[in-house]
Symmetry: D2
Subunit: 137 residues, 4 copies
């Protein structure tokens, strides 16, 4: 098993995660299998409709998935993810993504990530990860 | 119907799509319901494993979806998307995303986007869009 | 709006739903946007591994989706569904599927359906429906 | 590796697959990683709208996935599947499901299954399987 705590694993991941840094991701809370992170949407994140590009909310949710699943102690890689965009997001919006573990097996685990703005859901994300034998150290 | 050609619609979208510009997206080809775009992965796009963040390939595929579906002439919004990451992507990798229309109805349409590096698939993406009555002008 | 209550709509659907009847589906509870149903797996429902065919749990969850979404009063058609099979199911197992509304818009709505055996989750299902203007009468 | 040919594996699976038998599935062709099967929709397969229950086309596609993935020689279990219903299906309709391998790794593989009636697509299915070390013998 990992010699690191869930918080230490996520901190180590964030330190090398250049894209989450570009997004402005800030970790709110971490526990084994769970994670909550936040960011604020910027002008450079919009698409051709001048709302946040779908890739922005996806990326935030995918970071939450990575942190929540790796916090269990072994390296976990996302293999299948799906996202529903339920409400448009604009520059200036403050987003919170919360990952919850739905199922945790030996090799596979499933997570649900909800992305909210002012407690209103803007995206629903579901991800499956594959865990190999490499511990976080 | 739209007074713009598929190529003019995509050009107009790209002009306002700040995030696709940040990604370095370049349009290779457009026709009604189809689109092919490219980009090169940069160091600032990696995650905590130092490979491309899942959000990067997702975003590229999502832009291809947006361009292909809107090129039909009416505003189309992504409602459901799913992506499978099948091979890791690294800084310096040149990616090509190709969107193909699977089904085109009055309100809903489905697209498949394949993301490749040197003709090898690195991600498989599927998206459903909802088309409203607003034409591209 | 519909002149029928959520319970009356689901009863009317069940009366014509020959396949849910073949499955042995029994409605446990209905309210606007929510539904809980049950069934027991039979020998004729197994696959080549002699566990329940993936189509059985999918079908149960899809019926729960149909009942929950139509109970809102207008005809709703499933457009996108996804299911994760998280634990094998065997003949004799008693399954309960519970549909919960994640988001309810004018045209589109999203639901999550959890399928459980003895309160343990065996499948996670997510569905998106398209609502047309036809009321249930 | 398996001592059985792809055709022998699928025959062995079909022999025990009571639900595919109930559906009336007939195998059209099998090769390593690919499979094509057919069935005809019956009155007892309809839902509350008197069209084929979504579980019917899902089940047909899921059988095609199981046959195509197991034909590679090792036991493969479906872990994530998604289906888009693109056109309603009625009793009497003859359906053909064709599974194509999108990616084949050591542990995971992805397949696309297209369900057609008279060469017109009625459902698009995507599935991911996990392969364990048990060979088909």
């Amino acid at each position: 098993m990992s010699s690191l705590s869930p918080q230490e694993i996520v901190q180590k991941m964030m330190d090398h995660d250049a894209f989450s840094q570009w997004l402005g991701v800030h970790v709110l809370s971490v526990s084994a299998g769970e994670c909550s992170i936040e960011m604020t949407v910027r002008e450079e994140m919009v698409n051709g409709f001048r709302v946040a590009h779908g890739g922005i909310t996806y990326s935030l949710a995918d970071s939450a998935l990575a942190f929540a699943s790796n916090s269990r102690g072994r390296h976990a890689l996302s293999i299948e993810t799906a996202v529903s965009h339920t409400s448009p997001v604009s520059p200036g919006d403050h987003l919170v993504a919360t990952a919850r573990e739905l199922q945790c097996g030996q090799r596979l685990a499933r997570y649900e990530v909800t992305v909210q703005r002012n407690q209103k859901t803007v995206a629903l994300f579901k991800g499956t990860v594959f865990k190999n034998d490499t511990p976080w150290t």
